[in-house]
Symmetry: C2
Subunit: 728 residues, 2 copies
C-alpha cells in the first residue's frame, strides 16, 4: 500500500480519537436530561441528594472497528460518549456509567459495566465542588468552636471573619480505612500564596458519608501530636492546660517563603530575557485538529477528562508503531507522623487529573513559538468548560547533534565532517492536581524514537512539623515538614509493531568462555546475547525489587527488515521507581499495576484502562484492578500486545523544594526506540544535514540542503567550518 494512501487513511481516522466538542457535550446533556426516568438536575445545585452528570468524555471505538478506518480507509464507526451519572436522589444511591450515541445527535444510551459486573460503590465517587462547599461549612462550625485555639496558635488567623489572616484547608485521601467509608482527614493552613506549605497544626477527621450534611460529624482531632475525640474535648484540654499550647512564630507578611517573589542574589543578570526559540523559516510540523505530522511521524491525540493525555495511531512513514500510548494514573504515597500525613495516598485520577489541564503560559510552560490549543472538559459542571491554551505543540532544538562525526585524517586534517542538529517535536499538557503540577510530555525525534516523560513541579504536600516527623522527611520551614513520598505514573503502551501480531522477548548478556582460537593456551571470556521469549502474561510481568532485563524487546515475528531481523522496538526506562506498599496491603489492592515496572498483556477492548476515577476513594476493592488483566495468563506470542509501564521516583523533600519542586532531575519516563525496525536510521530523510569536505583548493567545501545563512536574529554569518588542527 502506498505511503500517501496510508497517510490519508491515518488522517481520515484521526477524528475517531478527537475529544468531544462542546456541541457534542451539550447534545449529550440535553439528551440525558430529557429522559424523565433519569431525573437529572444541575450538578452545581447545593443539594447532594440529586441525580446528575458527573463526567462525560469520548468513548473510544472498539479497536478492530477503528482499524478498518485506519488501515483500509473504510467508514468510521459512529462517535459515542461515556457519561458518569451519580444517582444521589434515590433509596440506594449509585453511580452508573452510560455509553451515549451516536454523536452529535444521540439517540440511545446503554449501561457500561465493569469487569465482572462489579458495581461502583457510591462512596467511591470523587468529591464535587458542592460537597466541598459543605465541607467548608462544617469547617466553619469546627473552627468557630476552636477559634481561640487557632487564633492563639497562629497569631491571629481564623477560618471566618478574616481579611488578610485567613485559614484554608486541604483534604486527604483515601477517605477512611475500608470500602464504603467517606471520612476525611482535613488539615488547616494559612490562606496565603502557597498555602500548601502553611499547615498550622490542627487536623480533623470529618465523616461526610451522609447525603445530608447536617448529619456529618467530627470523629477525631489532632493537635500538638495528640488525638482528641471531638473539637470540644480538644478545646477543653487546651483551656485547662492539659495539652501544651503550640505557638507559631509571629506571622511575617514580608517572609516570602511560600511565594514566587524573587529574592537573593545571582552573579549574572536575570532581569533580561534568556535564550529563546525562534523559527527562522516557520514551523516544520503540521497540525490538523487532533492529527499531527512531523518528520516521518503521524499521530492523533486526545486529553480525556478522566485521566489525561493519549496518543493514537502512531506511525512512522505510514507504518504503525503503536495504536495507543496513554497516561493511566499518577499516585503519590506518603508517610509521616501526623494522621493526615500517614493517611495520604493520592491516586490522582480520582482528583480530576485529566480535566485539571489549566492554561499554559507562553515563554514559561511552553516556548513563545509553540502552537497553543484549547481543550474542553465536562466534569462536575453544567456546561462544557473551556480550557484556553491548555495544550501546546512545538518543535525545539536539543542544542545537540542527532548524529555527528569528525573523520580525522590523523595528520591535522580530515576526510569529512558530517552532522545533523537534533530537533524534537514536543506535545505537552500540564495537570495541576491541587498542589502538584505534572508536566506531561510526548517527544517525537526524527530518528524514530519517542520519549514519554513526566516532570514534577508545584508545591509539595507538607504537614506540621514534629520531631518524630524527621523519620519521614526534612524540616523545610520553622514548623513545616516535607513528607517523603513516592511518585508513580502508569502508562498504557499498546505497541503495534508493523501490525497487531507481536511477540515479546527480553535480552540479557551472558558470559561465554572458550579456548582462544588463535592462541589455544589462552581463553576468551566475552558476553553473548541471551534472549528469552516470554510466552505468557505472567512471565512478562516484571516485579519491582527483582532484576529487570537489560533490553525489553517487542517485535513482529511476521515482518523483517532488509537485513533479516524481525522488526522491533524496545522500551528503555528512565525511572527510579519502586513499589510503595506491601503486596495486598489494604490500599495496594487499588494500585496493583504499581507492582510492575513492565507488564505485557494481550489486548482487550474491555481492558482499556488500568485505573479509574473511583480508585482514590475505594482503593481497597477497586472496580478496575490491573492484576485481573494478567490473572488469566494468556499466551502472548504473535498476539496484539499491550505494554503497561510504571515509572516514578522517591521524593524526600528538602529545603530546595521551597517554594516548589523544581524540574531539573525530576523527570522520569521511557523511550520507545527502534530496534531493527527500519533498514537504517530514518532521520537520514532530513535535509538539515551538513557535510563538509576539504576541497581541492584546501578550502572546506560544504554540502547542505538548507540555506547557508540563517539571519532572523540568529546569525548573519554563513556557516563556517575549518576542519584542520595545525601546529602553532
Amino acid at each position: 500500500c502506498s505511503a500517501s494512501k496510508l497517510r490519508d487513511w491515518a488522517h481520515h481516522g484521526a477524528p475517531m480519537f478527537a475529544d468531544l466538542t462542546p456541541r457534542e457535550m451539550k447534545a449529550v446533556r440535553t439528551y440525558l436530561h430529557d429522559i424523565p426516568e433519569m431525573g437529572l438536575t444541575d450538578a452545581r445545585s447545593k443539594t447532594l441528594k440529586k441525580n446528575n452528570i458527573l463526567l462525560m468524555e469520548l468513548h473510544l471505538p472498539r479497536k478492530h472497528e477503528a482499524l478498518r478506518a485506519l488501515d483500509r480507509g473504510q467508514a468510521k464507526p459512529p462517535r459515542q460518549a461515556r457519561v458518569i451519572i451519580q444517582f444521589g436522589n434515590q433509596t440506594k444511591p449509585n453511580i452508573t456509567e452510560y455509553i451515549v450515541g451516536p454523536l452529535p445527535s444521540p439517540k440511545s444510551h446503554e449501561v457500561k459495566t465493569f469487569k465482572g459486573d462489579r458495581p461502583v460503590l457510591f462512596e467511591s465517587r470523587p468529591i464535587t465542588a458542592v460537597e466541598y462547599d459543605h465541607i467548608s461549612d462544617i469547617l466553619e462550625k469546627i473552627t468557630t468552636k476552636a477559634h481561640k485555639l487557632l487564633f492563639e496558635t497562629t497569631g491571629g488567623f481564623s477560618f471566618t471573619n478574616c481579611t488578610d489572616r485567613c485559614l484554608t484547608f486541604s483534604d486527604i485521601a483515601p477517605r477512611g480505612l475500608g470500602p464504603g467509608e467517606r471520612r476525611t482527614w482535613i488539615m488547616l493552613q494559612k490562606f496565603v500564596e502557597g498555602y500548601f506549605i502553611h499547615p498550622v497544626g490542627l487536623e480533623v477527621l470529618v465523616n461526610h458519608d451522609s447525603l445530608d450534611p447536617e448529619k456529618w460529624t467530627v470523629e477525631k482531632v489532632w493537635y500538638n501530636s495528640r488525638y482528641f475525640d471531638s473539637v470540644e474535648e480538644l478545646v477543653e484540654s487546651y483551656e485547662s492546660g492539659d495539652v501544651e499550647k503550640v505557638k507559631l512564630p509571629d506571622h511575617d507578611d514580608k517572609d516570602l517563603y511560600s511565594t514566587y517573589i524573587p529574592r537573593g542574589h545571582s552573579n549574572t543578570p536575570t532581569n533580561i530575557h534568556g535564550p529563546k526559540l525562534v523559527e527562522p523559516q516557520g514551523p516544520r510540523y503540521h497540525i490538523d485538529h487532533n492529527f499531527v505530522e512531523y518528520a516521518g511521524w503521524s499521530f492523533s491525540y486526545r486529553v480525556r477528562s478522566s485521566a489525561g493525555f493519549q496518543v493514537f495511531d502512531l506511525r512512522f512513514n505510514g507504518e504503525r508503531i503503536a495504536y495507543e500510548i496513554s497516561l493511566q494514573e499518577a499516585i503519590a504515597i506518603y508517610a509521616g507522623d501526623t494522621p493526615a500525613a500517614m493517611q495520604t495516598k493520592y491516586i490522582d485520577a480520582g482528583w480530576a487529573m485529566g480535566s485539571s489541564t489549566f492554561e499554559l503560559a507562553p515563554g514559561i510552560d511552553c516556548p513563545e513559538i509553540a502552537t497553543f490549543i484549547d481543550l474542553y472538559h465536562y466534569f462536575d459542571t453544567d456546561k462544557p468548560i473551556h480550557h484556553k491554551n491548555a495544550l501546546c505543540i512545538f518543535e525545539m532544538t536539543t542544542a545537540m547533534p542527532l548524529r555527528r562525526h569528525f573523520n580525522s585524517n590523523f595528520q591535522g586534517g580530515y576526510n569529512f565532517y558530517g552532522g545533523l542538529e537534533n530537533t524534537v517535536l514536543v506535545m505537552r499538557t500540564v495537570s495541576t492536581v491541587y498542589n502538584y503540577d505534572y508536566i506531561w510530555d510526548f517527544l517525537f525525534y526524527p530518528n524514530g524514537v519517542v520519549e514519554v516523560k513526566v516532570s514534577a513541579t508545584g508545591y509539595i504536600h507538607a504537614t506540621f512539623f514534629t520531631p518524630t516527623g524527621l523519620l519521614y522527611g526534612s524540616r523545610v520551614y520553622n514548623y513545616v515538614l516535607g513528607n517523603l513520598h513516592t511518585h508513580l505514573i502508569h502508562y498504557k503502551v499498546d505497541l503495534d509493531i508493523a501490525g497487531r501480531g507481536n511477540s515479546f522477548e527480553t535480552i540479557d548478556l551472558k558470559y561465554v568462555n572458550f579456548t582462544n582460537p588463535w592462541s589455544p593456551k589462552d581463553f576468551i571470556v566475552q558476553s553473548k546475547l541471551d534472549r528469552t521469549e516470554h510466552k505468557t502474561e505472567r512471565s512478562a510481568a516484571f516485579q519491582f525489587g527483582k532484576r529487570f532485563p537489560r533490553y525489553v524487546h517487542f517485535y513482529n515475528p511476521n515482518e523483517q527488515n532488509k537485513w533479516g531481523h524481525q522488526k522491533g522496538y524496545r522500551i528503555q526506562f528512565n525511572s527510579h521507581a519502586s513499589s510503595v506498599l506491601p503486596k495486598h496491603w489494604k490500599e495496594e489492592n487499588g494500585i496493583t499495576w504499581s507492582r510492575y515496572p513492565l507488564a505485557v498483556t494481550r489486548h482487550k477492548d474491555s481492558e482499556a484502562t488500568s485505573s479509574s476515577i473511583y480508585t482514590q476513594n475505594d482503593p481497597w476493592e477497586p472496580v478496575v484492578s490491573f492484576e485481573d488483566y494478567i490473572r488469566n495468563n494468556e499466551n502472548i506470542v504473535n498476539q496484539d500486545l499491550v505494554a503497561w509501564v510504571t515509572v516514578g521516583f522517591l521524593h524526600v523533600p528538602h529545603s530546595e523544594d521551597i517554594p516548589n519542586t523544581a524540574t531539573p532531575g525530576n523527570s522520569v519516563g521511557f523511550f520507545l526506540r527502534p530496534f531493527n525496525f527500519f533498514d537504517e536510521d530514518p532521520s537520514l530523510a532530513s535535509k538539515s544535514t551538513v557535510i563538509v569536505r576539504p576541497g581541492q583548493d584546501g578550502k572546506p567545501k560544504v554540502q547542505r540542503w538548507t540555506p547557508d545563512v540563517i539571519n532572523y536574529c540568529v546569525t548573519n554569518k554563513p556557516f563556517f567550518y575549518n576542519g584542520t588542527y595545525a601546529g602553532v
Copy 2:
C-alpha cells in the same frame, strides 16, 4: 567572609587550573630539549629508536596549596607541566614522566612516579603517528601478497595503487594477551566515507613490538572464519580452493549506506531551518579565560590532553560544592566472532581521548549563539596543536518551566499563576576517538543542580558478518555485523560540600508497621527513612549487580542549613551500566573502577586519576589501578571525600545505528542535586520569574522583572495570561 571576596578569590585562583598555553608548551619543550642527557629529538621523525616528548599538559597544584589561593586569596603556587617522555633510543627503552616548572620559564624537572614506584612498561605506550606509518608499511607488504584475494573478494579494492577503490585499516586494542606484548589485530576496510562500517573480511595479527619495523611479523591471519599462520598460508589455501572464497556484493558507488547524504522521505519539510536559539538581550553568563559565571555558579575548567574535560572549584554563591569534577576514562568492551571483534576492549584514554577534541560546528554541535573557545594540545607532536572552536559554552532554554504552579480557586478562576522558565548553561567538548564521537557536557541549572552527561554518536565499531556473529549483535548491512558492547565512563567527583570535611550516608526506605493511633483496631504500614552512615571506603564501594541505595548523600557534618539539616548534595544516576568482565579476569585488572557505580575514597593528591594513557596497551598490570585507592579501607567520616562515578550503557547495535549511533536515548550521566544545602531553592534569585494574579477589575495583573515584550524575532506580542476556565 563576604560573597564578593569569595568570588574574587575564586577568580584569582582560576588560572591555576588553566591548560598550558602554546608559549608555555614551547618553553617546556625548549627547556627539555636543551638538556643533553635527555637526548630528545623530534616526535615526528620516522625512526622509533629515539627519545622524544609524547605528551605535555598542566600539572595540577596540590590541593592544599590551591585552597590557600582559593579560600584565602593567597599567592598561587607556581605553574608546572607534566611531561611524558618516551626513551626509545637506549638499551632498555622506557617511559618516564617529569614535572617541569616553574612556568612560563622552567628551571627544573623531577621524575614523577606512580604509586608503589611501578615502572611504566615501554610496550604500554600509545601508538604514535610514526608507528602507524610503519604499520601502514607492513600492511602494504601483506596486502601486496594477498592482492588477488583482496581484489577478488572486494570486487576491485586494493591497499596500494588505487584511486577510488582503496582499502584502509582499523587496529584493535589491547595489543596482545599479557604485559609486554605489542601485537595488534588489524581489520581491512574499504576506504570510503564511513570506512568503519566497511570491513572486507580480512584480519591480520601483526607483532610490532620491535623498535625496528623490519623485524615486525604477521602472526595470524583470519579470512572467512578460518585462521592461518601466515599470509602465505592463506594465499595458498585460497588459490588451492582449500578455503572458500568470499565474494562481497558488487560495490555500488551510489549506495549511500555509510554516508550522511540524505535519502528517503519525510512528511514535513526539512530543507528549511528548524527552531534556533537566540539571545534577545545578549548572553547572561560571563567567561574570563577559564573562569565562568552563570546564575549563582562559578567554576574553572580545563581540557587535559591525556583524558579530557575537568571542572574545578565549583561554587554556588561563593560556597564550594566540588573541588573537581573530571572525566577519567571511557571504555567500550566488545564481543564477537572474528578475532578483531573478540579482542576489542577499547580503553580510550590510551587513544588520546583528551586531545581528540576537534572543531565544533555552529548550529549542529553547539547552537549558533554559543561561545566557541580554542584549545591547544601537545600530544605526539613537535608543536602545540591549535584546536579551533573545540569547546563551547552556551545558555539554552529547556523549553520547560523550572517551576510553575497554577493555583486554582476551583471556581473557574485562580489565586495566582507563577512560573520560571528553565534555562541551563552548557559547557561542551566532543572527543572523536577514531570511529566514535563522545559529546561531553556539563550542565549548570539555576537551582543548584549540576548535570554531567555523555552522549554517544559517530560510527559503530563493526566487523565482518558471520552467522555465528548473530550471537553478538545485529546484521546491519549485507556483510557487516554491529557488535554488542558496553560503554562505561568514569568520573572523579571531588565534592567539597561547604568545605573539605564531609561524610557519606545512603538513604533507603523501610516499612514500619504500627497500631493506627486514631483507630486502634487497625494498623498503619508506611515507609520511613533508613539512613546508613558509611564509615570506611570499602563499605562505600557499591558493586554492580548488587542493590544500589535509593539516595547517596554527601554532607558536611559541621555545617547546617537554616532548618538544622546538615548541608548536603546527592548524586542521582542516569545510567544503564553494568560490569563488563568477570572480576580479576585479565583485562579487568586495568579497569577496576568499572566494578563500582559509586565508590567513595578519602582524597589524596597522589590518587589524582583512576586510569592512565598506558592502560589500553597494558590493562593486565596497569600502573594506575583504582582498586588500590580503596584497598587501605580508610575512614571516611568528616574527611575530604572523593566520589568516583561509573555510568554507561549496553549497546546492541541495530539497523538504526546506520550510518551513526544517534544521540536520542543514548545519553547517560549523573546529577548533583542539593539536599538541604541551601535554605530554599537558590533559583529564587532569578528575576525571570513571572507571577499573574487576578486584578481588582477581574483582569489578570502580571508581576515581572523582565521586559513584557521580547521582540527580536521571537514575538512582538506582550506576555498574556488569562487564568480563567469558564463554561461555554
